[in-house]
């Protein structure tokens, strides 16, 4: 019984860290891309086939897919319906003229690990923790 409670306590402790981790690995818009359809190719530079990718077109619509080899070069092939800018206006306030590329596979893990560390520290000082650790 004690072991079960202890396991439950550990699971509860890591929830905040996991939330932060999930935020850290979410597909944040990372850097500006080149003008034009070049962004479809540039976003897959230094990637490998089947890596997830995303990019914005000139209207700031977002396309998500994977890097595929086409005509001997990697290009981002969209396989999800285009996310129209009008339905996601909060992501475009930083620039209204230049299409952006999105790097979903580059540094998300760094932010994820950072979030894990921060989350671990946070849960160690989580106010509710003392109540939980007082369980038998």
């Amino acid at each position: 019984m004690t072991r079960v409670l202890r396991a439950a306590r550990v699971a509860l402790d890591i929830v905040p860290a996991l939330v932060l981790l999930a935020l850290g690995s979410s597909p944040a818009l990372a850097h500006e891309g080149a003008l034009g359809n070049e962004v479809m190719w540039k976003v897959c530079e230094n990637r490998k086939r089947n890596d997830v990718c995303a990019f914005r077109n000139a209207d700031h619509d977002t396309s998500r897919g994977s890097c595929q080899s086409v005509a001997e070069h990697l290009v981002c092939v969209r396989n999800q319906p285009i996310e129209r800018a009008a339905a996601d206006s909060h992501t475009h306030a930083h620039d209204e003229t230049v299409p952006s590329s999105t790097d979903e596979s580059g540094y998300g893990w760094v932010l994820g690990v950072f979030s894990l560390v921060v989350g671990g520290v946070a849960v160690s000082n989580w106010p509710g923790r003392s109540r939980i650790t007082n369980l038998p």
């Binding site: 890591i14 999930a22 003008l35 490998k48 890596d51 000139a58 086409v70 999800q80 671990g120």
Partner: protein, 323 residues
């Protein structure tokens, strides 16, 4: 003390495992499951426009890219669309307000007008773009066969920098016939996907080649516009007239259930369908190649948008040949 140590170790260990599980698998790479047996629906040769064929479609033995020996359709095309005109491509003067062809950039299609050509330096934020004569407004167009052949090669001579490149069907003998060997029934790859190479994507129902995109930086290095017509096609000296975008000109075989229409077949024999269904919606659940399976059509592809300058992303079956 022991319990505290256990707590700490358990927490770090469990969190680390979950972190790697989430980050490691967290959408950094996408895999494609093999197509389930029985979802390979045969090519329907009756879907092709007869006028686009140089001879009736026949059947013969063939060996596919993965080594499978099977039966293939021999499809020989005339190399010229018979259901729509070719061109126009380039406007002739920057004062020309009418729409000639189109250009694909920024994920969009753009009407090629004189004003668009005049604005290219601003459009590309590069003053080296200047495709017209200041005094007359005349747009530099490859208006001879020699100019077209020079400007349409990968290494464009400096004399043809800043040109709108267009060809005429007469430059390619009225059309370059091509012969496809496409499996009667697709042979699905047992693992992975096949890359789209220089052989192209497939053939439209009107017999026109569906080609993959080329990296844009190459195309633009010489400040040339390789203009498309309103059907998303243009001419090169090797392949003749071919499509780079689906604009509704390929000839279609309508679906009766509201599904998008069939517009062609990929080199692996799987059907290529339009992007949108009858209600104007795009399919969800597409794999990396832009394909999926349903109970009527089996496995099939859906093209990307015209502004994406692309049809499909890869092959899920062993490919036939084209020459």
């Amino acid at each position: 003390m022991g319990n505290a140590r256990f707590d700490s170790l358990a927490r770090v260990g469990l969190a680390s495992m979950l972190a790697f599980a989430i980050v490691g698998c967290g959408d950094t790479s996408s895999t494609t499951e093999p197509i389930a047996t029985g979802n390979e629906v045969s090519v329907n040769p009756a879907s092709f426009l007869a006028t686009g064929l140089a001879s009736p479609i026949t059947t013969e033995n063939c060996t596919l890219s993965g080594g499978a020996v099977t039966s293939c359709y021999r499809i020989t095309t005339v190399g010229a669309p018979t259901n729509h005109a070719v061109g126009a491509f380039c406007p002739t003067n920057i004062s020309d307000g009418s729409v000639a062809g189109m250009w694909i950039e920024g994920g969009k299609t753009h009407d090629l007008t004189g004003a668009f050509i005049a604005n290219l330096a601003t459009f590309y934020n590069d003053s080296r773009w200047k495709l017209f004569d200041n005094a007359t407004g005349r747009i530099y167009v490859t208006d001879t066969q020699a100019a077209f052949q020079a400007a349409a090669q990968p290494n464009v001579p400096a004399a043809y920098y800043n040109h709108c490149v267009e060809g005429k069907m007469s430059y390619v003998g009225g059309g370059i016939s091509r012969t496809y060997l496409i499996p009667v029934t697709p042979v699905a790859l047992t693992s992975g996907t096949g890359s789209i190479g220089m052989s192209g994507v497939g053939v439209a129902l009107n017999g026109i080649t569906m080609d993959p995109p080329a990296p844009v930086d190459r195309i633009k290095a010489a400040f040339t516009i390789a203009a498309f017509d309103d059907c998303g096609g243009h001419i090169n000296p090797v392949e003749g007239y071919h499509y780079h975008a689906a604009m509704g000109c390929a000839g279609t075989a309508a679906s009766t259930d509201g599904h998008a229409a069939l517009i062609g077949y990929a080199l692996d024999g799987f059907g290529i369908y339009a992007m949108l269904d009858a209600a104007g919606a795009e399919s969800t659940g597409l794999d990396n190649c832009r394909g999926h399976t349903d109970g009527t059509r089996g496995y099939h592809y859906h093209v990307a948008g015209a502004g994406e300058n692309m049809f499909i992303g890869c092959f899920r079956g062993q490919q036939g040949t084209v020459r």
